[in-house]
């Protein structure tokens, strides 16, 4: 017997933020060697795109896995509001200790979105620039 059909809803969001790649556990010299210009003390910024995918049953009344109004409100509250036009390592508590690389950003966004009550978070992909992207689908 064939597997059943599975549907996922994908949505892309955008925010702009600054970050600095710098670890307090490393010397200045090591930070410079490892992170290069990304370790500039004044930070630098990106236009980030976050692509999320949610799986779930399609509600027969609405034809939807999740109503976009509910999903957008949740993502705005959990990710866009706290991250947009912010300095990630200075204004997002989770990045006080860990380096705000886009790998860590992906994991943090996944952690914030996995409690969406209407559908199951399948994956988070973050584009730091149009050339670099990172994805995380949980443990």
């Amino acid at each position: 017997m064939k597997d059943t059909l599975q549907l996922e809803l994908g949505r892309r969001y955008h925010f702009a933020a600054s970050h600095r790649l710098h670890s307090g556990k490393l010397s200045e010299q090591e930070n410079c060697r490892i992170f290069g210009k990304c370790s500039n003390p004044y930070g630098h910024g990106h236009n980030y795109t976050v692509e999320v995918r949610f799986s779930g049953d399609v509600n027969p009344t609405t034809g939807m896995i999740a109503n976009l109004a509910d999903l957008d409100a949740f993502v705005n509250e959990q990710v866009i509001e706290p991250f947009d036009r912010r300095s990630l390592q200075d204004e997002v508590p989770e990045f006080r200790e860990s380096v705000p690389t886009t790998e860590n950003l992906c994991i943090e966004i996944f952690r914030r979105l996995k409690s969406f009550p209407i559908a199951k978070l399948a994956s988070v992909r973050v584009e730091e620039t149009s050339n670099n992207s990172f994805a995380y689908a949980g443990e």
């Binding site: 064939k2 597997d3 059943t4 059909l5 599975q6 549907l7 996922e8 809803l9 994908g10 949505r11 892309r12 969001y13 995918r53 399609v58 009344t61 609405t62 034809g63 939807m64 896995i65 109503n67 976009l68 109004a69 689908a137």
Partner: protein, 141 residues
């Protein structure tokens, strides 16, 4: 296994409305997508076929053939149509991205002559899409 993806675009209009709900509920749930006159999108469809390249032709599936199948099954059926009224397979369903992606899957799957349909991804806009695949294939390509 090799995965081949072909992209195509079509434009269509639709309206979100469930006759089993009151006018007020329809407006509350579907918002401006409930506009009685409908509205339209430029859809982008990505169809991914999985298979082994044929030892003689080196192809998973001849793209010419795939293009003809997509044209016959999807473009001719949906392009410049009002999805609610003109696509028989969507009758009785709200033409959301999820439902349209599933209809496209069901139209294409039996028509793929070589390899097999791996994923249908339908973009309603650059920031909204639905993926359809069979359970077991999740996470590949």
């Amino acid at each position: 296994m090799v995965y081949l993806t072909r992209k195509l675009e079509f434009s269509a209009s639709h309206r979100y409305h469930n006759p089993a709900l009151s006018a007020e509920e329809n407006r509350r749930i579907f918002g401006k997508c409930n506009n009685p006159h409908g509205h339209g999108h430029n859809y982008t469809l990505e169809v991914t076929i999985a298979g082994e390249p044929d030892p003689v032709t080196g192809m998973v599936l001849d793209l010419k053939e795939l293009k003809e199948i997509l044209d016959r099954e999807i473009t001719q059926r949906m392009d410049h149509r009002f999805l609610n009224y003109e696509v028989a397979e969507l009758q009785g369903q709200i033409p959301t991205c999820e439902n349209v992606a599933r209809v496209i899957w069901n139209l294409l799957e039996p028509k793929i002559p070589q390899g097999h349909l791996h994923r249908v991804r339908l973009y309603e806009s650059a920031d909204l899409f639905a993926d359809c695949y069979r359970d077991g294939a999740r996470g590949t390509a």
